[in-house]
């Protein structure tokens, strides 16, 4: 393992210049596959010796190009993603794989595909419910994805190779969970801002390199003195995406962010993929059932004549109870990206659920622009003033 003191600074370097590594790999002849959403099964990309690269938006980038293709009252993340693509900011991608995890992504990536003709493009369809037939259908969709990627990579994907990739990514999930254990102490050993840099770095690197980075970060964090200073509040952030440290620093000005339940945080690492005889079964189950994005329709007692509201909330948000207890959270920020329907419809229920758990929460909306951060500051400060 490399120099232990380098982990965090390396992560922040990668955060600053995300595409640096994949461009190197491309120069070495490796093919780079972009993906805009954590629902894309990276294991299949990794197993075929391709490098997965998460495409993000950029709150600093005024949307100009995408205005031609998308309305303004629309998921701002997808708008900037398309905008960056149209501005050829990720022209190093050899291919792109998107998934119908939400409507804005589905519609945007279809437009994306027709404007930016990548050598490879695949759209995975995804059911909204957790029924048996939905899982079957989803497995078929994953298998189709595997097939097209195989022919793009020009090789067959053996079940063993896929299993190996699953283990590799499970290792990554385990390491991230281990890293998150280090936010349990009061004060935490690693800040939310550092964590975000690490997570974003992971989504910019091949899995093996990501695991190596995690190893370095974990031992560095465990050994270092002078981690983040103790703040009056320990926050859980619940959001679709938090992908900019300016936002995280704004939260951490008066608090410690100890848990980030977004796809800039633990969401992609909370659970493991089960190793099944047919590895696709494990992947199907994990990606449809285990990932806790609001886009999935979950119901308490499915199809029963009666439905208990609280049981329903538990089945949708139960995992958050664990977070608040184990990480001893005393404040929750429900951080909504404007026009995100799946998350927006959740707000009322979720606020009720946290009341029920006895944890103060606030709902803050932002429009994914740098300009919207200033009003954000006042809200965050005011919220912290109510709980201190």
């Amino acid at each position: 393992m490399a120099d232990k003191s380098k982990g965090l600074s390396k992560a922040s370097e990668i955060y600053q210049n995300r595409s640096h590594r994949v461009k190197e790999l491309k120069a070495e002849g490796k093919k780079i596959i972009g993906y805009p959403c954590m629902y894309v099964p990276l294991e299949i990309i990794t197993a075929l010796d391709l490098a997965p690269y998460r495409t993000y938006g950029d709150i600093r980038e005024p949307v100009t190009e995408a205005d031609r293709a998308l309305p303004t009252a629309f998921c701002p993340i997808m708008r900037t993603c398309l905008d960056c693509a149209l501005k050829a900011k990720d022209d190093f991608l050899d291919g792109m794989v998107a998934i119908h995890s939400c409507d804005p992504q589905d519609k945007t990536t279809r437009i994306w595909e027709s404007y930016v003709r990548y050598p490879y493009f695949h759209l995975i369809d995804m059911p909204g419910t957790l029924r048996t037939e939905s899982l079957e259908y989803f497995k078929g969709q994953l298998n189709d994805f595997k097939k097209t990627l195989e022919s793009f990579a020009g090789k067959e994907l053996s079940s063993d190779k896929l299993k190996a990739a699953i283990e590799l990514h499970n290792r990554q999930r385990a390491l991230v969970r281990e890293l998150y254990k280090l936010t349990k102490p009061d004060s935490p050993l690693i800040s939310g801002t550092e964590m975000l840099q690490v997570i974003k770095a992971l989504m910019s690197l091949p899995a093996a390199e990501g695991n190596e980075l995690l190893g370095q970060v974990i031992s560095e964090v465990k050994e270092r003195t002078g981690g983040p200073e103790k703040k009056p509040a320990r926050l859980l952030i619940w959001s679709s995406t938090v992908d900019d440290i300016d936002i995280m620093q704004l939260f951490e000005a008066g608090a410690n962010v100890v848990m980030d339940e977004s796809c800039g945080g633990i969401r992609a690492y909370r659970a493991d993929v089960k190793l099944t005889d047919d590895p696709l079964d494990g992947l199907t189950h994990y990606y449809l059932e285990e990932i806790t994005c609001a886009r999935t329709f979950r119901e308490a007692v499915f199809g029963e004549a009666k439905k208990d509201y609280m049981a329903d909330l538990d089945s949708r948000f139960g995992y958050l109870k664990g977070f608040t207890r184990e990480w001893n959270v005393n404040g929750v920020i429900l951080f909504l990206v404007r026009y995100c329907d799946p998350f927006a419809f959740e707000m009322t229920d979720l606020k009720e659920y946290f009341n029920h758990l006895g944890v103060p929460s606030t709902y803050i909306e932002y429009d994914y622009t740098q300009g919207s951060l200033a009003p954000l500051r006042t809200r965050v400060e005011a919220f912290l003033e109510t709980i201190d």
Binding site: R60, P62, V63, T64, E65, D67, R68, P71, T72, D367, T369, Q370, G371, S372, A374, P375
Partner: protein, 260 residues
Amino acid sequence: MAWFMGIDIGSVYSKGVIINDDELSAYYVTLSGANYRAAAEKIKLELLTQANLTQDDITDVIATGSGASSVYFASQKASDIVCTARGISSIFPSARTIIDVAGQSTKAMRIDGQGLVANFAVTEKCAAGSGRFIEVIANVLRIDLKDFGPLSLQSKNPITFSTGCAVFGESEAVTRVAEGIPKEDIAAGVNKALADKISSLARKIVLEEPCALCGCGALNIGLINSIEHELNIKLLLPPQPQIIAALGAAITARTSSLKR
């Protein structure tokens, strides 16, 4: 000698012109205020005095703009887009694209050799894409509208404006001011933000050169530069960019009377 009057009642400014068979004999620009009818009346009198004519000398009057219906003495209404097209092509026959940055909205249009509209797009109902944005921010910065452009040119590093609502942009500007950001950087940021919106509008209709700029936005040198830079073109700038639609209305009046 026959004279024709064109009157353009916009939501912020009202403009009027008198032309004769071959030249512009009078023009006038004033604030529309609350009473469009009064504005129209005022313009008419002002124009007649300037041109030293009486109402009877005027063969025909055509009104345009959002308040066209308040011009009680006009023989007919015409679309401001069509009038702008006619107006520009009378000044720049070669022009193929027009960007009109008006008080409440911005329009981009393509025209053919005869000044007929070939395609057009109008900003969404949002002041952030119109001259209104600049007025709002000028007010925040407590500077005179006419100084806005020149001031913005002094900027070393313009701020990035999140192209939101003009009023949201206003509070953003207030915050930036509070952070101690120099006025010129904010002004330049606004021009950049507006230029971005305008440029994507122009791209939407597939901009074809030469391209003319008119409307109150054409009085803002900072905005002009930002648009030219963003689209990487040189803009044709008419004298009196605000009266173009009124001019077009007068020309329409002349053409239709020639047809008769």
